[in-house]
Amino acid sequence: MSGNLEIGISREDGDKAVAIMRLTGPLDANTQGTLEEKAREAIDGGAEYLLLDMSAVEYLGSAGMRAIHAITTMLSPDEPGMRSSRLRVVSPSPAAAKIFKTLGFDTFIDIHNNVDEAIASL
């Protein structure tokens, strides 16, 4: 799968510092580094929580899932191998949702229908 992953980032700094990352394009071996880099920048910039809006992710490969796991480790380094309480996935596309379910990530990462619902869950 080829193509670029575009990432738009906004902040919702109410009671909690939240970065919302809207992903557009394929999330695969070619683009996983981009996502990890942007997530690191957001966390270093003060974000305590990350929301990944994956409604426009047209392809999600295993490398992309590694990036998502790497982000949970960035957010919660003291919770290795466990559910991260600081990451939410929002509205995954059908292709992405299928991968989440098949690989079992849906059991460990909270998935929400929209951004408002995800923020309310923090």
Partner: protein
């Protein structure tokens, strides 16, 4: 990937040695006398998957290393199959009337979720039926237009499959190759088929 494969084999080997010891001296068995070897098979699967998953998830967590795994114990005399499908693609049992059963996931991928639980499922490979496994590189094989081979195309091949396991593999490989042409692939294309001889 290599680490996971070696751990699975090593753990399963320990259980194989234990089974041999029990065979030599039934008094050593922790299993009730009225239970058959299926109980030992399921215990082997449970320990193999659990130990492998927890070791990698706690020791190599920062690498975000994981793998989907289908691991099963097939009794070649009876066709009884106990298995764990850890986040792997759907596995099929197909026969002369097409796909009879789809073996879906029984738990998440191995290597990143410490303490994850995996159910052990059971099935039977009947005489003349074939167990078909594949990696996601098969349905996601892409042609020059960016179109994927798809699970639908793969399933349609199994609906009409006849002959040996080797014949089936050749047919799928030819179909995938014809579809992709010279387009570069981003993943491995791996399959396994095991057919139980018809009586």
């Amino acid at each position: 990937m290599t680490l996971l494969r070696r751990l699975i084999r090593a753990t399963a080997q320990v259980m194989k040695v234990r089974a041999w010891a029990v065979d030599q001296d039934p008094a050593q068995s922790a299993l009730p006398e009225d239970q058959d070897c299926g109980a030992l098979a399921r215990e082997t699967l449970a320990n193999t998957v659990s130990l492998t998953n927890n070791y990698v998830a706690t020791t190599h967590n920062k690498t975000s290393m994981f793998a989907s795994v289908f691991v099963g114990l097939l009794d070649t005399k009876t066709g009884a199959l106990d298995y764990v499908n850890a986040g792997h693609e759907e596995t099929y049992i197909s026969g002369e009337n097409g796909i009879r059963q789809t073996l879906t996931t029984t738990g998440p991928v191995l290597g990143i979720f410490a303490g994850a639980s995996h159910d052990i499922a059971s099935s039977t490979l009947e005489p003349g039926e074939t167990l078909v496994l594949y990696t996601d590189g098969v349905p996601e094989a892409t042609n020059a237009s960016g179109e994927q081979f798809s699970e639908e195309r793969l399933r349609s091949l199994l609906e009409s499959s006849q002959g040996s396991a080797r014949d089936l593999m050749k047919m799928i490989v030819c179909s995938v190759t014809d579809f992709t042409g010279d387009a570069p692939q981003h993943d491995d294309i791996t399959m396994l088929a095991s057919k139980r001889q018809a009586v």
